[in-house]
Symmetry: C2
Subunit: 351 residues, 2 copies
């Protein structure tokens, strides 16, 4: 297969972890006889510094014409505590999601047998966890009107949802549930928010089309509790953009290592693959960041292209590296800590 992949390294540790995913993907391509062309493009603070814009048109062109996008991380502390900054790296991320129509963020949460004891949660609570959070990604309060009134003393943001946005996300949720545990949980705040009531109403109306799927409705505050108390209680969760932002990060704690969790963002055209961790600026340039989440994101990419064997090869070599202790310092536990690039080299060699 010929694959054109847009490569958006982004900020902080982004470039370093992306490099390793490229190495591993190239090794897979070579082994299985595929042909990958990488198309690097600028995004985030890196793009602001270079061209004054976090998601330049040229970058969009590259992504829109690619078969998939592999993404590192975005965000730079220079912008975080400056409420007056006019351009922010994060705007690039949001613009990218919107312009590429990536309306669903798919976040699997599972445990790694060899790492389960690193979780802050007790083993019996989490062993066997296998859930997916499907976060709506191009609507809600992220994209509503916002601004200031009263000389800046009043600020507002608008949380808006249209029925079609909920329907297309829920459809993916139902379809995923059908292929898995056949349970779908719609998470909202319907006891307060009108947008949540529209969510509930829309999903309720779709239930009849998926008689095999058991659907439940829970409030986001309750789920923030239950996700930690008993993650095995969930199969597929669908939720709005802001709730998903919070719950997916919360869920990432379960596995015990954020550094291992991949994700994909899908829509109607091209899909994007990225680690769920952030740009981790303190570690940038030090060759110490854990590249596995990005490597496993590349595995999701292969899987979605129908290349299951290739995806499995990546997951296998990752498991092997964990078992043999070829890991970065976050997982070293007193053992030898390998460099980011060393882990990447080892994985590529052992594919």
């Amino acid at each position: 297969m010929k694959l054109n992949i847009a490569l958006l390294a982004g900020d902080g540790i982004g470039p370093e972890v992306i490099d390793q995913a490229v190495k591993v993907s190239d090794a897979v391509a070579q082994k299985f006889g595929h042909d990958i062309t990488w198309k690097p493009a600028l995004t985030g603070a890196a793009a602001i510094d270079a061209v004054g814009e976090p998601y330049p048109d040229e970058t969009h062109e590259v992504c829109a014409n690619a078969d998939a996008v592999l993404f590192g991380a975005i965000g730079d502390p220079r912008f975080d505590n400056d409420p007056s900054a006019k351009v922010r790296p994060e705007q690039g991320l949001l613009k990218m999601r919107k312009k590429l129509g990536l309306f669903a963020n798919v976040r699997p949460t599972f445990t790694f047998p060899s790492l389960i004891d690193k979780s802050p949660l007790k083993r019996d609570r989490i062993e066997g966890t296998d859930l997916i959070i499907l976060r709506e990604l191009t609507g809600g309060v992220y994209f509503g009107e916002r601004g200031r009134l009263n000389d800046g003393d009043t600020a507002f943001d608008t949380m808006t949802y249209h029925r079609f946005e909920i329907e297309r996300l829920a459809k993916k949720g139902f379809e995923m549930a059908l292929k898995r545990g056949k349970r779908l949980c719609c998470v909202d705040k319907a006891n307060v928010l009108e947008a949540s009531r529209l969510w509930r109403e829309t999903v309720q109306a779709m239930e009849k089309d998926y008689p095999e799927v058991e659907v439940t409705y829970e409030f986001v505050d309750a789920v923030a509790m239950r996700l930690i108390q008993w993650p095995k209680g969930y199969d597929v969760i669908i939720t709005a953009n802001l709730f998903g932002d919070i719950l997916t990060d919360e869920a990432s704690v379960i596995s015990g290592s954020m550094g291992l969790m991949p994700s994909s963002s899908v829509g109607s055209e091209v899909s994007l693959y990225e680690p769920i961790h952030g740009s981790y600026p303190q570690a940038a340039g030090k060759d110490i960041a854990n590249p596995l989440a990005t490597v496993l994101s590349a595995a999701m990419l292969f899987e979605d292209k129908g290349l299951s064997e290739e995806a499995q090869a990546i997951r296998n070599v990752v498991n092997k590296s964990l078992a043999e202790g070829i890991v970065t310092e976050d997982l070293a536990e007193g053992g030898k800590a390998y460099k980011t690039s060393e882990v990447g080299d080892w994985l590529a060699k052992n594919i």
Copy 2:
């Protein structure tokens, strides 16, 4: 001291747990020579059923004229999955908060030595946790304009914050931090929301008035993770209404028993005390619900009235009941499960 306390039992297990808090408070009053007059009033689904309104004017009169409000729980499943319901029990709660000016919800999170192993989190992660979340309670998306457009196919909610709302909440946060660990964390989503940027800006401007307090700013998604990974990292957290709703419930998992966590809601006039658990309809009327969170909420009430010894007497008897296993079924662990009313009787007798 003469105390006039409005008694809002509410729905589900509310009446049962409230009864025990009354027993215990009466025992304290008798022992320390105080005089409590309880003023029961209707709220929630119970009030809708009786007078068609979840927070009737008569109830507001009772609360507004009381020295404090003791509150049980609100919510009834009859209303939850009916998106078309015109009146909802929760509206009563929101109206009450607004009309009584209860702009800050105070939620302590701590562990009970005798219960620490009930937590889904590992002991070394949580032992010694002592944090307070201060949630803004009368603003934000809970009280903004909301509605439908496009024949009901579009729903919107507005998240609005005024500088004065943030200032008065932050002031309480700074003052609390001064009396405790001197660390304040402002939790927001300033990389996306304009309202969050106003939060950050407002709190930043107040920093100079509290030079002793170390202030940090974190994003809500990151905090949803860190709260579980390392709760000891926090002292006082201040946050907006919706974020606080999610984070306080999440934090309640730490202690291992929601059934023990009290809270207060304060403003300029009367304060309200309530357990953080909900109305738990499945248990209603069965005399099995854990009354300790409500009993400990009464302790917070005494404390705020300057009656520290009385508050301590309640906390002591609660600890004693836990140590001696005089507990409801949620804490019984194979031992004898006492009834809600039996636990209340025991506590009152042992004050």
